[in-house]
Symmetry: C2
Subunit: 179 residues, 2 copies
């Protein structure tokens, strides 16, 4: 419980001993509430991904595979340019190529050249892929509820929604600015 604070104060004390300035550049160290939030978040995300992965593996999918199917299913024509799909998944171009390789092997996704631009390949959800998504989605949602959403109060859910919406927007703005 207070290990998080010990952690920070340990390094902080060391920093204090070596630094001539009284505190960090401009923002300062995390206060107890901030530290609790950050540590709980950091300690949760990895195991949370792991349990979701374990649950979805029942359908022969990885978390990443599932996310591909979801993104394609969101499109009216069930297809998406590789680069757009990569951006939505936060994946590098090469990473997306390999991931699609696996899905294409299993006939869950197809590749087709775009008629508009001969550079682009479209990833297209196959009927099999859509059927598998439809089958897996309720179980996935159930898994999310059991391990995450279902543990929270309405107030916490709303706060997480507004908080991470801001975080996501800031990250998107930052990477847009970098381009």
């Amino acid at each position: 419980m207070c290990a998080q604070l010990l952690r920070s104060t340990t390094a902080y004390a060391g920093h204090m001993a070596r630094s001539s300035k009284p505190a960090a550049p401009e923002t300062g160290w995390l206060d107890p509430d901030e530290m609790v939030a950050w540590r709980a978040y950091i300690d949760s995300i990895t195991p949370l991904q792991h349990v979701l992965e374990a649950d979805i593996s029942e359908f022969g999918l990885t978390n990443g595979d599932y996310e591909v199917l979801v993104r394609l299913s969101e499109q009216p024509d069930h297809r998406l340019r590789m680069c757009d799909l990569a951006a939505r998944l936060g994946l590098s171009p090469s990473g997306l190529t390999r991931r699609l390789d696996g899905l294409v092997r299993n006939d869950l996704v197809g590749r087709e050249p775009s008629p508009d631009d001969r550079r682009v390949m479209l990833a297209v959800l196959t009927p099999e892929g859509y059927a598998l998504l439809v089958e897996a989605a309720p179980h996935h949602v159930d898994s999310v509820r059991r391990h995450f959403i279902g543990l929270l109060t309405r107030r916490e859910i709303e706060a997480i929604g507004s908080a991470f919406t801001k975080v996501r927007a800031a990250l998107l703005a930052e990477q847009d600015a970098a381009s």
Copy 2:
């Protein structure tokens, strides 16, 4: 914005068309608030890890390396059994072995056999490792504040703290029960 809902309703409609039952097994689909929270969270964690990784790379560290140094620094004697360290990091035994390989090569961490149990190796923070942590920590905290904590209200910080504390506790209890 409403893509999250479209996403879910798309798959949900497909499921409805194929299922004879009126809804998911017992819990049901995510309502709008829950969906916003889940999607914002899922869309944030990967890019958030990426920016933190980019910031910490200034010190020649990966996020995972940094976490090793932190966990060791939390211990009074700056050492930890491999298996305990692996558990704290959510890493498999083999994963931890390789990660330590890198840190040992850079003299940030040392290995020493435990005097109590000749099976166990202790990972020990070297003076260089501790010095690097002390140097990097304020910048890391600043990065966390700029990309995450600093964007949130006090209410959101408290809610995230209590929410993920519960999530983490449930995940730990679950994996303890599995052993």
